[in-house]
Symmetry: C2
Subunit: 359 residues, 2 copies
Amino acid sequence: MARIYNFSAGPSMLPEAVLRQAQQEMLDWQGSSMSVMEMSHRGKEFMAIAETMKNDLVELMAIPDNYKVLFLQGGATAQFAMIPQNILNGKSKACYVNTGAWSTSAIKEAGKYCEVGIAASSEDSKFTTIPDFASWSIDPDAAYLHYTSNETIHGVEFNEIPDAKGLPLVCDMSSNILSRPVDVSRYGIIYAGTQKNMGPSGVTVVIVREDLVGLAPKTVPSVFNYEQQAKSDSMLNTPATYNWYLLGLVLQWLKAEGGVAAIEQRNLQKADKLYRAIDASSLYSNPVAKACRSRMNVPFVLADESLDKEFLALAEKNGLGSLKGHRSVGGMRASIYNAMPETGVDALIEFMAEFERTH
Amino acid sequence: MARIYNFSAGPSMLPEAVLRQAQQEMLDWQGSSMSVMEMSHRGKEFMAIAETMKNDLVELMAIPDNYKVLFLQGGATAQFAMIPQNILNGKSKACYVNTGAWSTSAIKEAGKYCEVGIAASSEDSKFTTIPDFASWSIDPDAAYLHYTSNETIHGVEFNEIPDAKGLPLVCDMSSNILSRPVDVSRYGIIYAGTQKNMGPSGVTVVIVREDLVGLAPKTVPSVFNYEQQAKSDSMLNTPATYNWYLLGLVLQWLKAEGGVAAIEQRNLQKADKLYRAIDASSLYSNPVAKACRSRMNVPFVLADESLDKEFLALAEKNGLGSLKGHRSVGGMRASIYNAMPETGVDALIEFMAEFERTH
């Protein structure tokens, strides 16, 4: 069986070594005579899996001691509500930066709970830029500043951490977490769905600075309360145990690959060669300003839109899957997360060149 | 490798055939050259998996057309909040029946959103009975009546559907869904975590009658809003795709076994012989009134508590796992869900008899 190169934006390609280990352990995890998915979440076997997974994440991201690390459900979309519900702390305003579709969704949901001030927006450029930090308008009375470090749909990524002017900085890191080193201590909250760089879907990693835990009013649903979740080690309700295990396998793989700094070099190389190929071609183009092009999600359009269908069909035949762009942007999108090997990007570049030559 | 008989209350034993199929398809689902967990949730392969899974559940439970079937996250604990948040519909009260630990948790959470009237409680009997339906006090001004059809910890199960006196009847069916036929049309809402009779943890099945969809105030978080989830086919946020797939495999297994009516006969037989063995012994006892003993969770205590440790250690050695009772009840608990074969119950009975003979 030949595996395809899967450019899906998430759920997305996983390291083959992870899948092989999960396959091998499916009916019997390390002599326990049970599948991980059959284990009680309170049993010693699963508790050991959970602890190792959490420790590996703390190590890989160098998460300081004064942060709680939670493994929740409901995706980033649940966090869009949980953040204002938990950390407004009596204030009536929050600041958001709008750099694309996911920022926009976060802003819309936050509007249910507070007044949302837009500190900066790149909507005028059709989300192809990041507004200069100096131009940001950050309200000192806001409870926090929220931004999206990588816009999965628009292919825009922050290369620097913004200055939140003293507010807690909250970041949706769903599509670039663990792809590059990050100074966690700069953040109030980092959150990310697992289905891009960390494993299958079904878990949301939430890293919360301790002073932001315990501020929720009593009317917040228990599963949405950071303090209750932290106190119960994210086991307030039965966690998605098998998903935790798979997340753990991905983290072990990442450690074996050399960790976040090593994977960043590979990600830089992959993104760099793909953007160079696009820029050098007269058929393909990427609209994003060079300084903020995403290393993870590379959207591109064909000069002649009528070729899209054929491009996708031929790509599929050549073992290059899920290249169709998001409906809101059109064209193509190559998501090249940690698990996409450089050979996959090489194969895509070669296919694109051949397609251009023959069309 | 010998598989153990795993009596865990959930996550719990799964059919070996399901695990074998998942193992075989791990790197390549039906020629797609992808693992299911790598597939885009919007792609045609996963959409087909999701549709089959949903249709199989509708078929197995004979769910009428006027119900929405949702596959959410957050477990029953999230539903404890979502139900009042969605269906109070301007009313200030809801009625709850308290028959054990899980009812108690549901009541506590509902208290954040409304006045909770206790229609009936078996707390006086230490949750070993179900109060006679005739004695229930159902407030006609309440928005709904909630009960727990099987108490996983206390081992108490309803054998009849209560009369809700015209209120929408809401049921936490987490630990006995699909174990016996149920007339869905009698209910307003049925909900259940998957980790007992339906697969691994990480999905909550919610079956909602259409007239209860669309009543939530705008301030309810989007992922908690039945209407928004129904409109997006439970894909408002990226669903736990691999968990949906595994749920689908369990449903296919159940169909192949003859469906819910056939599995009920097997469950009756398993429970009946285990209770008979307990009642016939002078070492073991079960405190629950015979008319409401659970077919799924069989708690029992040893006459001499000091033997507990040895019992558990010896059981483990004999391939009988996770028999320790919940800390709030003590003693032992054998959870014998659909996936526990009759040979597992036979092995447990034999072990218990041998242990009694030698102690």
